[in-house]
Symmetry: C2
Subunit: 334 residues, 2 copies
DNA sequence: GTGAAAGCGCTAACAC
DNA sequence: GTGTTAGCGCTTTCAC
């Protein structure tokens, strides 16, 4: 607990070279004679020297640390994104400072301020809405920022997403084509752009393509959890829907169980397509058909994009769209 | 993107005071006249000054950053722990550097080295086994370390856990008392102390208390995932078990579904008690009876403990045990 | 190929 | 109550 900190200076003295040379060795700088290099490395080993990243950060103005802001690590979608980010970060020798925001503006601003104060080299932001204050802070930040699995309708930020609108349209279309006259959309809070500007529009696209009017009574907003899904089942049934596109697996599981618990036959009497293809989808009975998203990759690609930006390279595309898919299970008719 | 960094020196000049005074204001030091304080604060606002935490860290030898090492954020158990840690950390104005280790010794050592290099003020470690090398690094570290939801049989590290042995014994006893002659234990890898030294022993305790010999054929080890649970069902049935204590909810869900899918009646023909009471337990049909653990609190309490240690306070107890519970659902007979 | 020296932006004595 | 002055441990010109 009270180890004597051993510094680059100690190494220099022991190895009978200058601090500069030790620094070169530590940083893999080529301009060092092999012999000197080995001597220095030996001393480093002997002394158990470990470079102080804080001092290095101050001197070089690079911390090899990036900030990751997400609503909640406990949410599997974001945890998966975070994992993709961390793996790529480790690969490029960056560490991540993780901060939960609960989608609260205050926390987001707070955390952003902390992160910037800590001189992170970049930030990956996740969250379903980006308000003006946050956007202002983004602009003031002197480090690159990438949105992962999070949309900014203005497209002013770098981002990595899938085509939510198209994915939702496809799922809706499929249900419509299966003969359902009334397909419901069960989305998250309408204040979130990802719902109002993308998923809802995709749903409408499908109706339009089928020359059917959209019935507002078929559009529901819930929180992203199992109970919300369970509780909304009655309303969905009351709206005379015979199928639903659901934007969250927990919600879909809740809806499904409520339906099954009350005797509705799935998929014969009611069809469901959910959104994230999380492991939940194979645990329910019947198993949930789902849109598939490369969630891990969304994280990995955004981190890769950030490394480029931190390196002052301009990426080819500012708003990357990764492909999505669909997997047919037992909550849809074949 | 190319903001001019504005430093404490700029503020001092503008406010016509010394750097020391600005520092005092920023750090809430009391020894500053109200008038001076206000003047400085005004300038800070005008200039949009934001203290550089890296410089501060170098000068003060405190980074207000802690390291959090866990096997995988994607695992709900650890995500929940991490959330508890982050909430308390934020409360005490610490940020967390999060690192996934995949329980790999190499990664753990690597990450530990990075973290120590970054001069974190403390570390919270999660992982089901602690080998000698890691323990050696722990000893060499000059910052406090707390294990959260992770056991070290030597009890040499600070830690926060529940009484896994007792919890497992209780669950096993209940199943035995329900009339099951052959209760299986489905645990994780036996190399992990939490399984071999705690949960297995608890299972044995229950058999001993009932004066029954333990049949090795009833003890299974699996990975912590749904598929493993699904696949082991046949073996469990072949071993003529009529009940099982399972240490992971995903595994339990897999076992349950496999059983139900193959026509076994739960709980009449087979009873199950699982371990973490995650949201999965209410999603399966029938719903899973479970031991309950205060997972979030495990994280929160370990972070609280760490703040004390970083503050050089000696905690009352080095190995905190939080209470566990049990919730009766539909995979057990009443 | 190597060294000397000036910072990086801040805190923490210590003086006044 | 406020200012002066060393550092903190490293990187980075700039010489040689």
């Amino acid at each position: 607990m009270e180890k004597q900190t051993i510094t680059i200076y100690d190494v220099a003295r022991e190895a009978k070279v200058s601090m500069a040379t030790v620094s070169r060795v530590v940083n893999g700088n080529s301009n060092v004679k092999q012999e000197t290099k080995e001597k220095v490395e030996a001393v480093i080993n002997d002394l158990g020297y470990r470079p102080n990243a804080v001092a290095r950060g101050l001197a070089s103005r690079k911390t090899t640390t990036i900030g990751v802001i997400l609503p909640d690590v406990t949410d599997h979608y974001f945890a998966e994104l975070a994992r993709g980010i961390d793996d790529v970060a480790q690969m490029y020798h960056y560490q991540i400072i993780l901060a939960n925001s609960d989608e609260s503006k205050d926390k987001e601003l707070q955390v952003l301020d902390n992160l910037l104060g800590k001189q992170v080299d970049g930030i990956i932001f996740m969250g379903n809405m980006i308000n003006e204050k946050v956007r202002t802070e983004f602009d003031r930040a002197d480090v690159p920022i990438v949105l992962a699995g999070s949309v900014d309708p203005t497209e002013k930020q770098y981002s990595v997403n899938i085509d939510y609108r198209k994915a939702t349209a496809e799922a809706t279309a499929q249900l419509l084509e299966n003969g359902n006259e009334r397909v419901a959309l069960i989305m998250g809070p309408a204040e979130q752009a990802i719902n109002s500007e993308y998923k809802l529009k995709g749903y409408q696209d499908a109706y339009n393509a089928h020359s059917k009017p959209v019935d507002e009574a078929l559009i529901f907003s819930t929180d992203y959890d199992y109970q919300s899904g369970y509780q909304i089942a009655d309303l969905v049934l009351a709206a005379k829907a015979t199928a639903a596109v659901v934007v969250d697996d927990d919600v879909a599981a809740g809806l499904l169980n409520a339906l099954v618990d009350s005797g509705v036959k799935v998929p014969t009497d009611f069809e469901i397509i959910t959104n994230n293809n999380s492991r939940l989808t194979v645990m329910t009975r019947p198993q949930l058909s789902s849109i598939t998203q490369p969630i891990y990759d969304l994280g990995a690609v955004s981190m890769r994009m950030l490394t480029k930006l931190m390196n002052l390279e301009e990426p080819d595309v500012s708003n990357i769209i990764l492909p999505h898919g669909y997997v047919d299970r037992d909550t849809t008719q074949h």
